[in-house]
Point group: C2
Chain length 460, copies 2
């Protein structure tokens, strides 16, 4: 059995903590048994490890999340990078060709696909394990997990079983049809009909999907699929495959499950009401503060709200109204002010056009972990000035090596090649100056430190 | 007639916009007739100018506010600096000796004292002008202005007139006694007795106060008073003088008057609900946002609150509960993250100990207005690195002059003398590094640019 985890998300629902570079699944707002903060991705990965599934798992994601995943999970996690973000059907199709033509698993092997961030207990993963046997026993095309509803939610999709089958005594039911986001009244009727919430878990034998790709005229070789990826339709796996399948079964799961996709659902699972620098007065009940800024946040006499602050902005929202956030931010497009990378993280402290209008100025705090290094790169349209504020490292500048430490200042004009390797945990304040600052203005020459060293030795 | 304006205030009631360096009276949150933002100080000064009183006015304040006042008022505003902050009795005593021994006004001249920030219409200042005649006509020791109450407030002090005097037909009444912050029931009774709110305006002939100083054994010469200032009791003028005076009269003022000292009263006078970068959803009624940060503030579905954000912190408060703010911040002591100066302003972007614990790092944006210059100074315990991001100026470094412009970086080790004069509006990002950063770590050699130039020429 193979497990495919889908990691996507644009990140506006948990703004300002989530952004393009840091989707909701990477926010460290949960607390594990050891009392440490962990993200949804880290929680799921830990559960996969406990249930023995991690070694069979592959994560499918876009370029923008790779460094984040590498930073949060252990190095053994296998990642397949989508050439561009399309939707879940192309992502799963790509994965299938990878498993088929690169890993070379049997066409009879069962593949289970799930989102990277369900908030569940470990028995959920036992249920996923059981899908293999259920699929084989039933002879169905596809096996789903359906969550037993606890209230008539209007937010979820419902899986409606065949009316003539009873749940009692069986491990699975035949699926009759699907119903997306019904109103409360319809949801109540659906629940009476034993309908289940669709939690985005589906299992199939590899040959089912490979045959389907052949039928549709798509490549089944990974390299060919990569090249044609931009021609695949932007459509979800649910619409393109699941809802068109002839014989689908669903296994009910009655345990704890939650989609922590909005501030109201997320705060319900937070075991503390305050993360970061803040004060909440005693008369503010059911109020949560998540503050990633250094400054103090004070809440006085306001109940049932969430206050979230990050370098990207400040949110003050009534919990019940918080799902409206995405809609409110429709026209807000800003560059991410915080990001995690393979080597550490950056946090933008200030970004603006200078008063005389000629230049843009961006000031950020960069943190690099001991032993990590940046790529050897250059910028065409900006100069940088780094003031090292802690730690020390080997700085490379146009093929020359130089040890730098706290208090040193390095100036990097446009077009000069540079990199750094941190000897100890390093921090610097970086000021970027240019007519138009753009995150894409980077030419990477080498990524590995060994390569950089070798290149520079040759050039000297 | 002389007008004395008292400018004090610790600034916690309007946190995070107010701080030690920027009391509430300096916040630009009101809009004048020309549609420009103005502060309470600027509004009062404009009203004094319109009513012809500005030329007779002297402002008494502490060292920490002088640069702020110089930056907000025109250069002609006369300022007397208290050697240290004590209370209103020492401040007014100092002013009296200044008027007596330095300005040399007649002992018969009337002095009217008022806070620097009452929110009133211009007829309030006409009432102040009339105090001169009222005081002469009545022969009283002291003449006050009492505001006609509009509701039984528990927040104010009440001036209670003699019961046997009727208001009708007289311009003033004899004061019977004072009553501080009564409960609502008592306030209702007081209002029935024609009591008035004490708005902190009192007028007296100069000889009354000079005689009182002589009686109490305090100096009446300004220089001597300055030297003994630290021995004066920390007590308010109300307690030490007004409430002990024998013959006090009060003139009722029935016009508009308000103390904009807390967020709920201030927001009532704001003609816009949003200042700065923000979005307030349509379902948030009677909610105000004042945002001095560059980042977006979003409010969704929360009514009757104020959200205020500045480099000092973020406040989310129910308006009715906002007066509790000062109490909540009792134990919060932080250095001001924003300040205005004679030459421009600074805004701290980041302030923290570095991760390896050895050093403190402070990053701030400094703005200097065209033609303005810093003092020629040095720091003993910190280095500074300035990255110029806009404008150009003459930088002085150990008696050497150097023209700097956007993109240049200057490094200033501990102990080196430096200054700068801005040729055009300048901005730089300044990184301070030291074991313990302290705003007091500054040795000023010269303040005037002409002096600096002359000194450096001699030394070359």
């Amino acid at each position: 059995m193979k497990i495919v985890l889908l990691s996507g998300g644009s990140g506006k629902r948990l703004w300002p903590l989530s952004n393009e570079a840091r989707s909701k699944q990477f926010l460290k707002m949960l607390i594990n048994e050891a009392g440490e903060m962990e993200s949804m991705v880290q929680r799921v990965w830990r559960q996969l490890e406990h249930t023995g599934l991690a070694e069979h798992a592959v994560i499918a994601t876009g370029k923008s999340q790779v460094e984040m995943i590498r930073g949060q999970l252990d190095a053994s996690a296998q990642i397949i990078v989508e050439p561009e973000r399309r939707d879940t059907f192309p992502a799963i199709a790509l994965l299938a060709t990878y498993l088929y033509s690169i890993v070379g698993i049997s066409l009879n092997e069962v593949v289970a696909v799930l989102p990277v961030d369900p908030y569940v207990e470990e028995d959920f993963f036992d249920a996923i394990k059981n899908l293999e046997g259920t699929l084989q026993a039933s002879g169905a095309d596809m096996a789903l997990i359906g969550v037993r509803p606890t209230y008539p939610s209007e937010k979820y999709g419902y899986i409606v079983p065949d009316a003539d089958e009873s749940l009692s005594g069986t491990l699975y039911q035949k699926v009759n049809h699907f119903r997306e986001k019904p109103n409360e009244q319809d949801a109540t009727v659906l629940i009476e009909q034993d309908a289940l919430w669709n939690c985005g878990v589906f299992a199939f034998k590899l040959d089912y999907l490979i045959n389907l790709l052949i039928e549709k005229g798509y490549p089944i070789q990974y390299e060919a699929m990569l090249k044609q990826y931009d021609k695949l339709p932007k459509i979800s796996f649910d619409y393109e495959v699941v809802e068109k399948a002839e014989h689908i079964i669903v296994t009910p799961y009655a345990g704890y499950w939650k989609d922590l996709g909005t501030w109201n659902t997320l705060t319900e699972e937070m075991s503390v009401s305050l993360i970061g620098n803040g004060m909440i007065c005693e008369h503010s009940t059911n109020t949560h503060v998540v503050n990633e800024l250094d400054m103090l946040v004070t809440v006085i006499g306001v109940s049932n709200i969430v206050v979230a602050a990050s370098p990207d902005g400040i949110l003050v929202a009534d919990k019940a109204s918080s799902p409206k956030l995405k809609e409110m931010l429709t026209h807000v497009n800003q560059r991410p002010m915080y990001g995690e990378r393979r080597w550490g993280s950056y946090r933008v402290m200030d970004y603006k056009r200078s008063v005389d209008g000629g230049q843009e100025v961006l000031t950020q705090l960069v943190q690099v972990k001991a032993g990590q290094s940046l790529s050897y790169h250059l910028h065409l349209n900006r100069s940088e000035c780094w003031t090292i504020v802690s730690g020390s490292g080997e700085f490379v500048f146009n093929n020359q090596f130089l040890t730098v430490k706290a208090g040193d200042v390095v100036q990097i004009p446009p077009g000069t090649m540079h990199s750094i390797r941190a000897n100890s945990n390093m921090e610097w304040i970086e000021i970027q100056l240019g007519e138009k600052l753009d995150q894409e203005d980077i030419v990477r020459l080498f990524v590995d430190w060994a390569e950089i060293e070798e290149h520079c030795k040759l050039k000297r």
